[in-house]
Amino acid sequence: MPEPSTLSARPRRDWGQIALAYGIYLVLLLFVAAMALLSPNFLRVTNLLNIVTQASTVAVIAVGTTMVILLAEIDLSVGSVAALAGAVTAGVLKAGGGADPVWLLLAVLAGLAIGTALGALNGALTVWGGIPSFIVTLGMLSVGRGLTLLYTGGRPIFGLGGGFSAMAYGRVGPVPVPIIILVVLYTLAALFLHTTQLGRYIYAAGTNRRAVALAGVNVDRLKVGVFALAGTLAGLGGVLLTARLDSAQPTAATGWELDVIAAVVLGGTSLYGGRGAVMKTLVGAIILQLISNGLNLLNVQAYWQQITKGGVILLALLLERSIRRVRGGDEM
């Protein structure tokens, strides 16, 4: 720190910063070590790649939700929006016959467009309709699912042709495409949030909306934009899921809003807004998938899985908080 002048009362602050920044990575390491001890199959490269690939759909959606939560808002509609976007993509693919790359692109864009539109509607109703985002997106959760059922007639759309599922199963060298998408997306999101003006406004408006508005920033438009982006990313998650399943399920991604929010919160983003880091959301999503993977590898009984899953999430949060407290004093 170049200017220690006025803060001499906090000598252990640097350690605190480090713990704050890396607590979740420590938790991840602990889980990996524990699983490696419990199951001989865990540390296989295919298993580790599987875990990240399995986490990819939720993790893609969680990028948008992280931004929404940084703004001190919430989006409960992402699962339904993802399902609708996936269904629309599948529908367009079916209509176009599949294999043609132009149709492929068109189908993906149609899915993203639907996601963006519903996201923007979430934002507009929240900002200009004056309804809390919790209520707006709860409504959209239901509307999105209804539209998906309507669009699919309640039946899966399948037989989408091989070109499309390459998005989920293709590899560049040894690396699965979904992992490449994840890395690119998270890098871009982190750069956007930490180095650009709009990124800074997202954090600032989540901390003190009024101050940012008084500074001349159009916070309303910013919020609508972020909700729209969250919709686009939910759409992308839905498209990826459809590629992965090689079919659009009318009930796809049901309840995913909770997985996504769990990933964001595990990653340390404050539900009160203004604090958090998108890269840690990725770690959160991977930890969640790691738990599922571990439960499957150890063949834990169904009812115990629910208890274990919830318990482990709470444990992870507790662990992370106590790492912060022990090493970082009383931040937050």
Partner: protein
């Protein structure tokens, strides 16, 4: 008029009215202010002081009345337009973003950009740090460590950041809303030197305060609001604490009632 000299006033308010639903928050308020002049705005809670400065700062739109700057009619549909006209405001709660550092707050809304455009403007964090340090130094204000969130600073340090933020653009008019309310006595003393420093540089200052002695100490003129009306407009040198109190609580002489 109580002009201190030079022709057209910097800011002129004429017949400002502001309603919130059925409540008349400002009732036909007129006021003028010259360059280099320090004006105190006093009144009881709910007298309309905050509403009036928000109208001047562009945060509220008046329902009737006109604003003039340098003799020309102006409208401030948003805080940004008031800033562009040279009016900066330091709010009572300072309107700081606790999770940003001093530089982040000083440059909030006018960040220095390294490159890019549209939604992707990459911040020039280093230059903002440097400029912030330089600015704080110039104002002889205490310098919080760069990178420290302002939420962790003391009241006086926060006040310094808020004021630096207001002065960064070299405004023509600075509005200070209760600048000393959250401060320890020594810190408050320091902050109260600021209006005179600014006035000496030709900047006009409006200061809102409940601490009448402070207002008497640092202002040239004092306007008193009561129930949304301006009930007095006094030269500080010619008034007393007792007279001020009488105007604020009502029933006193309304010597300034005729002022435009």
């Amino acid at each position: 008029m109580t002009d201190t000299g030079t022709g057209t006033p910097l800011l002129e308010l004429q017949g400002i009215v502001k309603r919130f639903g059925g409540v008349l928050a400002l009732d036909d308020v007129s006021l003028s202010l010259d360059r280099g002049q320090v004006l105190g705005l006093v009144g009881d809670n709910g007298a309309g002081k905050s509403t009036l400065i928000k109208v001047v700062a562009g945060a509220y739109q008046p329902d009737a009345g006109t604003l003039r700057m340098d003799g020309a009619g102006v409208r401030f549909p948003a805080p940004r337009s008031a800033k562009e006209a040279g009016i900066e405001t330091v709010y009572q709660d300072l309107a700081l973003v606790d999770t940003l550092d001093a530089a982040g707050n000083i440059f909030l809304g006018r960040e220095l950009v390294r490159f890019g455009g549209g939604p992707v403007k990459v911040l020039n964090k280093r230059r903002m740090q440097e400029s912030a340090r330089e600015l704080l130094g110039r104002l002889a204000l205490e310098l919080p460590s760069s990178g420290t969130e302002v939420g962790m600073l003391s009241g006086g340090q926060r006040q310094s950041v808020a004021i630096s933020r207001a002065l960064y653009t070299r405004p023509k008019l600075v509005i200070l809303d209760e600048p000393t309310s959250a401060l320890a006595v020594t810190e408050a003393r320091k902050v109260l030197e600021l209006p005179r420093t600014l006035a000496a540089q030709g900047v006009a200052v409006i200061i809102i305060s409940h601490t009448l002695q402070d207002v008497l100490d640092v202002t040239d003129r004092i306007a008193v609001l009561r129930k949304g009306r301006k009930v007095a407009d006094l030269r500080t040198a010619e008034t007393t604490l007792e007279e001020l109190v009488a105007h604020i609580v009502g029933g006193g002489r309304t010597r300034g009632a005729g002022y435009a």
